[in-house]
Symmetry: C2
Subunit: 278 residues, 2 copies
Amino acid sequence: MKNILLTIEYDGTAFFGWQRQPGKRTVQGELERVLSLLCGEVVTIAGTSRTDAGVHAYRQQATLQGDFGIPTERIPIAVNNLLAGPGPYAVGDVRILDAVEMPPDFHARFSCVGKKYIYRIYNSSEPEIMPRNYFYWVKHSLDLVSMKKAAAYLTGKQDFKSFMAAGGKEMKTTVRTIYKADVVTGKMRGQGLFSYPEKEISFEIIGDGFLYKMVRIIVGTLVEVGLGKIPPDAMKEIIQSKDRRRAGHTAPPQGLYLAEVYYKKEDCFKEGERQNEN
Amino acid sequence: MKNILLTIEYDGTAFFGWQRQPGKRTVQGELERVLSLLCGEVVTIAGTSRTDAGVHAYRQQATLQGDFGIPTERIPIAVNNLLAGPGPYAVGDVRILDAVEMPPDFHARFSCVGKKYIYRIYNSSEPEIMPRNYFYWVKHSLDLVSMKKAAAYLTGKQDFKSFMAAGGKEMKTTVRTIYKADVVTGKMRGQGLFSYPEKEISFEIIGDGFLYKMVRIIVGTLVEVGLGKIPPDAMKEIIQSKDRRRAGHTAPPQGLYLAEVYYKKEDCFKEGERQNEN
């Protein structure tokens, strides 16, 4: 049995999130169905992040144990053909980008030491219809300087209980380390799917782990800072209060993208530093 | 009763086309439902173009007769709020851009003398998942020079029977006048929803009318020219043959956008000439 690491891209719009659920179309469920067809026996996969319904991924990762009878690097093509549906130019809403063999003790979730999420806002008085499932449309003008200032309070090892939604799994601790949190305008480097250079505001966050809906609650809070409803320096007190009611609203899922998974701590730091230089 | 002209934008992905059909979600059906709610009595609308399932519109137009008890220019806001669903930042997949009162004899379809369609191709060896419902993904490299050469044969008053699909309405004549037909790379002017400056190929066509699936069959033929399967000069013979079997495949609906409607012949010419200068 090989231990295989998959890198996966998906559009979360038509999925009930990542995690397998009976009778519902989920990313894990869809991938396991097709991988099992290809393998000839039941395949289960362990994903790094259990993204919610409507949340997208540029680079989700998952491990599986199996023997496919084909070279590992051929798995993406075989699976993607089954996922895309008929026609030479059909494109499905989930796609395997890469498959590599890993040592037996490697696990996509337990070996992971950090993740990067991107949250995309379309800030314009008028909405755009076609990309509505890929951005959070914010109608009123956002003040980027205030948002950047507020975001700066997020880095470091802190208790992020104020940004945890009810309904998630029981956590031993709500302390997390954030390596990078920044707000920028224009297209994010390397993410060229849509482009509104002047109307797009992106939030990028790298951390060793995230609480239930943490990124979306942080973004909702930053939006309220950008709208002038919360002063930027209040971010510090919001964190210290450990009170969900002090933070802002939960931003909708369609703006959120899982963008990177890290297995070495130095990569989290490096990525944070390198991007801060931009 | 006022005669009102609506300008409408929509994402055709989740609609069974424009035309009202019992039990199916169509753009006309959805607009009539909401306009009737607002008006307090049954409103029917007449659209300029009956776009197929999956086809989008930047600027569809439609006329209706009714009294809404509010100023005409307030109709878009009132309707869009009902179309978008709950939440201050919700965005629906159809939206009224503009409403203006017109003389009683004006009709969105019968007064129309020309239309512009844009067809968008994403030409790259790897597909992109998120915008898959807004482009035709063509995997193999397309030769733009050949495509432009072939497209040049389309202009003028000609019989376009070779590009008419079976199953449409009976037509008195299959002769149409094409004012402009061009293939360009990069983002189309004024259509900034998505942007792949180097990988996007757009086809723009302006004509006094179009046969059933005509633009999609023309694009399918141009793609085969771009792939080297059909020589560019064969376009002339394909037109002259009046034989559907000589033309290429029907390009899929998701790349097609109704982009403009004209009510004056000189606007069709002007637009064609102006854009040819770019």
